[in-house]
Amino acid sequence: MSNDDKDKKSGVSGVKRTRKSAAISQVDALEEVTKVKKAGGVSRSSRSGLDGNTTQKMSFADREKLLSMVGEEAKKLFGKSKLPADQQKVIEEAVKMAIDSALVPESEEEVEK
């Protein structure tokens, strides 16, 4: 089979003229390197927790619920424990004191609720 015949079979229409490649024009100058600017401050900082979990902000409005939870969790924790009752009482009271003294109303409205 002639080459022309082969081309006809494969659908080759013809060989186009090669295009002239453009000459490399001037390389653009690098932009000026600007002075390092002061970094913006962190607008909101929440303590980065572990595996994406943050520390949990307590709300004064939840005060009664939180203190009640301490009692419930202490009961679950020490239910079968042979820790002396006095020690258990000190532990529960200490945690309640710590939480209570850390709960601060952010506004007067929160206090009045």
């Binding site: 303590r47 307590m58 301490v70 969790e73 820790l83 002396p84 004191m97 952010e106």
Partner: protein, 279 residues
Amino acid sequence: MTENPEEMASEGPATEEAGSLLSLEEANALVEEHRGWAESIARSVARGWSLDWQSEGLDGAAMEALIFCSRRFDPSLGIPFRGYARRRIHEASTEAARQSKGWVKSTSSSQFERLAKEVSVELFELFPELRSGALPATLDGDGGSDKAVRASIRQLLVGATLVTTRQGLASSTPDELLDTKKVIGFLAFLEVIHQIILWRIYWDGDSMRSIASEWEMDELNVIREHIALIEHLSRAIQKDKSFEPLKIRPGLRARALEMKREKTVGPFTKLYTDQDKHP
């Protein structure tokens, strides 16, 4: 330290060494703006410890800390003033509370209250996020969900258990020593590295940062391990039996292997063994 704005003005301008970019007038304006809030912190500390916030001097301590913070506050850092100042004001109020006459009472019915107060102060050292009004982080659970809040509370309860155990060891009565020996028994079953972490935090008062720094690792490794340990202890206390030691997380395994090679003895193992020899 004064509460009067006119007197505050006479204290001199904020200095550059203090790092504040506020003028004295701006700093004083901050004090006036947040005065009520600082008083709220003092009142909360007093409430938690059944003290009078004014007669016990917590109000003055809070104001002093507020003024101190106003002089050093740099707004260009983008941190809100309350976020910056709260911990400092809470610390100052706590310290004033501990120095107050109402802190220590002589009646036997207050003995329990005095012990609970001492333990709660230690909880602020162990879980400093409390001073910012936040509960400790947990390893799992959605932050803020009921489950996560309860897990955080359990951490505080176990932390307080360890503190009272250490305090109990200092006690001289045989009954109390017997009870604390049971808790020491739990702790003696832990891996050596875990025993060392707990000993250094709860007995020696080291920070997790200093432990991580000494071990040349990221502080998060120690923080995560501590949380896992506390949750493990919580289950042990609940079931009132010791069980297989907690697996060491990857971040600390190399260090743990090193301890095994060096045949390091866990401090609670040593303590438990010593107590057996000398009951």
